[in-house]
Symmetry: D2
């Protein structure tokens, strides 16, 4: 299965915290979105904004979160995302949030995305997107060239 | 000056709090929006959604906040809003957030709104809106009928 | 299995929307929190704030969301929550968000909560909480009295 | 007057947008917080988290926002912050949000912060903080060394 892997460093904002002293439980979904945005930009060489400009949308149709440990304001986290097609028209992002340095797991989860048009109707992913995806997946898994 | 006054009771959500134990400083702007929505609905007999459906938008062009006291999760607040035209094409909402019961002031502030079209260009407020506003202001300040 | 059912009407705020025109995907987790708060208050006769004041916390340890249809600014939704113990020390909230009136399903999901102390360590749910829960569940499922 | 200037590049998140297609009006207050955090870290050589760990807090007591132009999802912005003491115990942050590249002004504003203890009572800023501030301000305004 073709897969693209990326990692985004991200700091916990004060606005992410709640009175329990850790991040509020909905914030990881916002972090996942940041990680998806950067995976598409840095690995596929396009931006999600361009995809939308061309009339294709990737709304979340399913999301899952498991909370393993807290994180405090200003903690540096690493959001690792693994993108793959779970079916012909569904993108799946496997997500892992860890504490930078210790590697301690903070959140595990995933999101599933449908391809839709501007009106929200399911459509086939455009051919050029699939080709960019495959090319990125190939680069991503290629063994590093000998130096 | 014509003015419409309304009050919205509102509870502090857990998601409103931050690690200081009070609401995060940006939340009152969301509460102000809730109060404007309900003022327009309950006093003007229309919804802001309808205004947008007719192609008129009221983006915030200026906002001010003064923080007088904190509020905790689940505290019941009262958001008092006073709407008036500060010029021919600017709506001004004077806002006061108090603790229900004690009346202790929590936040004072205001927002100023321009009338724009869908593209964000300034437009004159539609005549029917101004008429609804004036009628609401008259009802609002009328002395209560004798019983 | 003992279960408490509650329903919270809730309007989509402007701040809930994103540029796709529907609510942003993390917002239902905030709505779920509002629904839990009101279920505990209205059915168990206590507030979650009191539970925390007594040193017990109910952090989310798992959350799941399925997105079935969008909802627009100012839409009136109904958040139905069903609370039950999924184990001796885990509370499970089954969640359903529907459009008021049409009943159209908007979001399905659940959250699982652990009992912890202020330091985040797992603890047994206090006896008095379990008793309040059982009493509420009994009232909740009792056939309505004949009139 | 001693002043520290810093600039933070920041991308508009999808979660920052609303159905008008630009950022929701409360988001700049969250961006301001990110900029303050990084100014303190990069210019003063400490973190705001450390300040809180030592028992000092800097809650916002006043905030002002002027909205000059919109910004879309994924737009790259520059948040310029200028910190100064507006009185013996009040920190003032002058804020400017511009579009990266064009330099077009997006938002102007400011926040005013009091020094308080953990209980929220006003306190004098600690001497060591003032010294770090002065040293940073001196470095900040020093003419660049000849190369």
């Amino acid at each position: 299965m073709s897969m693209i892997v990326d990692m985004l460093p991200l700091r916990v904002r004060y606005s992410d915290t709640d009175q329990m002293g850790t991040f509020y439980n909905s914030r990881p979904l916002e972090w996942f979105e940041c990680a998806r945005t950067e995976l598409i930009r840095s690995k596929m060489g396009m931006s999600y904004a361009e995809l939308e400009a061309k009339g294709f949308y990737l709304p979340v149709v399913e999301a899952h979160l498991e909370f393993h440990s807290g994180a405090r304001y200003d903690d540096l986290l690493e959001i690792t995302s693994k993108a793959s097609f779970s079916s012909r028209a569904r993108l799946h992002f496997d997500m892992l949030v860890t504490h930078s340095g210790s590697g301690k797991v903070c959140v595990r989860g995933f999101t599933v995305h449908a391809f839709t048009n501007r009106q929200g109707r399911p459509v086939r992913p455009p051919e050029w997107f699939c080709e960019l995806f495959e090319a990125a997946a190939l680069r991503n898994t290629a063994p590093p060239a000998e130096s």
